[in-house]
């Protein structure tokens, strides 16, 4: 309680027993709130935390800018002749990669939060149990949106011209955010399962790096050896980046969208219950 000393010195106003008694008497017990209402309230909590610690937006602003610049100029000349050519292919992919990478911070924030006393209070409330976790993810959806917009703007500055226009771009980003929301349940599970922030980071990296790099984000999988193609072509990240690329290019890649949503549903169905099992037993 080292921070406590700052205000300890000043006099605390006395507790007013009368007004307290009046408050206790007048308190009517409201009806039980809906699952949506409590989830949104927890989402509001996540946004308040961003408001109080805006530095945590660093990973959704500086990091994505760096990703776009780095990979465009690193690979552009070699892979597509010029960075301007390459960014037409790369931007949807790097958008997917960066946002999916950012999802892993969900696990870290769950892990650091869960040990705090406030979690005991949340867990003793008569509310829809998953709403605490859904709240995190709703706050994260805001972060994913910020990251997507930032990257898109950088891409446009560098010469990215999506044929899908505004509608295609918005549809692509929307699909990416839906997928990321579902994918994040993996991290809520690890956040509750692992004992320290560091181990959460470690495990996240182990999952994220191969999953995002072994995909069609940077290059066409047909240039890869057959065994790797088998993995890459079936990776949810490949489906997602194909779908986003297609939508932003003005196509309607139905199969890829269906695959992406299918994977998203699977993540929620598997990792949602696992998360809640851990949450209830914590």
């Amino acid at each position: 309680m080292s921070t406590a000393t700052t205000t300890e010195a000043q006099e605390l106003a006395p507790v007013s027993a009368e007004s307290l008694a009046a408050l206790l008497v007048t308190a009517e017990r409201p009806a039980r709130p809906s699952a949506l209402s409590t989830s949104l309230t927890f989402g509001w909590r996540a946004i308040l935390k961003i408001k109080h610690v805006p530095e945590q937006l660093f990973d959704v602003t500086a990091f994505p800018i760096m990703m776009v610049l780095m990979y465009t100029y690193l690979f552009g000349g070699a892979l597509a002749g010029s960075p301007e050519e390459y960014i037409q292919f790369l931007l949807p992919g790097i958008l997917v990669m960066s946002v999916v990478m950012i999802t892993m911070y969900t696990g870290v924030s769950v892990n650091t939060d869960i040990e705090k006393g406030v979690f005991d209070r949340f867990r003793s409330l008569p509310i829809w149990r998953p709403s605490t976790m859904v709240g995190y993810l709703l706050g994260d959806v805001l972060r994913y949106t910020i990251a997507s917009v930032v990257m898109l703007v950088v891409g446009l500055v560098l010469g990215y011209r999506p044929d899908g226009g505004v509608v295609g771009v918005i549809a692509g980003i929307a699909l990416l955010i839906v997928f990321s929301f579902a994918f994040s349940w993996i991290w809520t599970m690890f956040g509750l399962m692992l004992r320290s922030e560091k181990s959460v980071m470690g495990v996240s990296m182990m999952v994220i790096f191969p999953l995002t790099f072994l995909s069609n984000v940077f290059v066409d999988p047909s240039t890869m050896p057959g065994w790797l193609q088998a993995f890459v072509n079936n990776s949810p990240i490949t489906h997602l980046s194909s779908a986003v690329r297609g939508l932003m290019a003005g196509d309607w890649p139905g199969a890829e969208i269906a695959w992406t949503l299918g994977w998203a549903g699977l993540f929620v169905l598997v990792f949602g219950p696992l998360t809640m099992r851990l949450y209830n037993r914590k």
Partner: protein, 352 residues
């Protein structure tokens, strides 16, 4: 529910929780009458917090059963949750949010409308003397302020049962008194309070019944009067000017008080445990003891009369001390007046 007894807020039978090899709670039976303050007294690691966590549906018991207002804490956890409120040992509020934000957040989660949540938060903050700090992040609050916001958060919707887990650990004496006033105000409105504490005087001040718990077991239970009678009325602590007079002083005290007299490690100090069965009060007994000593020519430099400390309660009930050591900053030392203000003590004992 069949075994539920009317008028009881909490009823447990053989409640057990194990962590690996440790039986943190080892067959606890409690019967807490509704509308009262029930004290659970014990040292760090006795199983108090674990018991509270099970009753608040945060931990699943490994054995036995418990009912809160007739609802099984495992099968009807949701019913239980809608009747109880928990104030943990450490602040159960979000330290990154402001006081107002915390209360509005919880108000919304309890189902209050936006406006009601905001109004009620403002009223509670005012009643708790926190209006000036309402817009500050809780991490900048002092220990006393944290406790207040914590309790305020627990009574946003007046609960039927309020768990207060060591509400005054680490608070200075004045903040402690203010917390006590809050608890009294809450109980006066009909809420049942289950209070865990390491301090006998706190249980004495607030609780009508007390359970003493040690190593996961209830070792004594009863009204304050019953418990005190089993412990003794308190102790007289003396410091003599001349160490060589101590054996004589022991003799005199034993005769005068019919009390158990123990020499302290300090060669000039000794402690006499007063009997609760005596006709006169502890103060009268002490006065008589001083008179006798003066008559025998023993010079007393320093004298104090204390309530039985938790150590003494434990010694009387179990034959061993609390195991927390006699250090002055444990808050349960053998000293007569426990005015410890070490704010760090909240950090220990989380594992209780």
């Amino acid at each position: 529910m069949s075994q539920h007894t009317a008028g009881l807020a909490i009823e447990t039978a053989g409640l057990v929780k194990t962590f690996g090899e440790t039986r943190a709670v080892d067959g606890v039976d409690l019967a807490v009458p509704a509308g009262t303050v029930y004290g659970v007294l014990g040292p760090n690691g006795a199983g108090k917090t674990t018991t509270v966590k099970m009753l608040a549906t945060l931990l699943r018991p490994d054995g036995g059963e418990a009912h809160v207002f007739g609802h099984d804490i495992v099968r009807e956890a949701d019913e239980v949750r809608s009747r109880v409120s928990l104030t943990g040992q450490y602040a159960s509020v979000d330290e990154d949010l402001t006081g107002t934000e915390n209360l509005v957040l919880l108000g919304r989660l309890l189902g209050h409308g936006r406006r009601t949540a905001r109004d009620r938060s403002a009223q509670l903050l005012a009643a708790f003397g926190l209006t000036d700090a309402a817009g500050k992040q809780v991490k900048h609050y002092s220990g006393g302020m944290r406790r207040r916001i914590d309790i305020a958060a627990s009574i946003l919707s007046t609960p039927d049962l309020l768990f207060l887990d060591e509400p005054t650990t680490g608070l200075d004496p004045r903040s402690r008194n203010q917390v006590w006033d809050i608890v009294r105000a809450v109980v006066a409105q009909g809420t049942t309070v289950l209070l865990t504490t390491q301090y006998l005087d706190e249980a004495d001040q607030l609780a009508s019944r007390i359970a003493v718990i040690d190593h996961g077991k209830v070792i004594a239970e009863g009204t304050k009067g019953e418990l005190k009678a089993s412990v003794g009325a308190g102790s007289v602590h003396l410091r003599l000017r001349h160490a060589e007079q101590r054996p004589e002083a022991e003799q005199v005290l034993r005769l005068a008080l019919d009390a158990d007299v123990q020499p302290d490690p300090d060669p000039v100090a000794l402690t006499a445990r007063l009997s609760a069965a005596a006709q006169d009060t502890a103060a009268e007994q002490a006065a008589r003891a001083l008179g006798e000593l003066a008559r025998s020519g023993i010079v007393v430099d320093n004298f104090s009369l204390g309530q039985p400390s938790l150590d003494e309660v434990f010694l009387a009930l179990t034959g061993h001390d609390t195991g927390t050591g006699p250090g002055p900053d444990t808050g349960t030392g053998t000293g007569t007046d426990r005015t410890d203000t070490d704010s760090d003590s909240t950090k220990d004992g989380v594992a209780a």
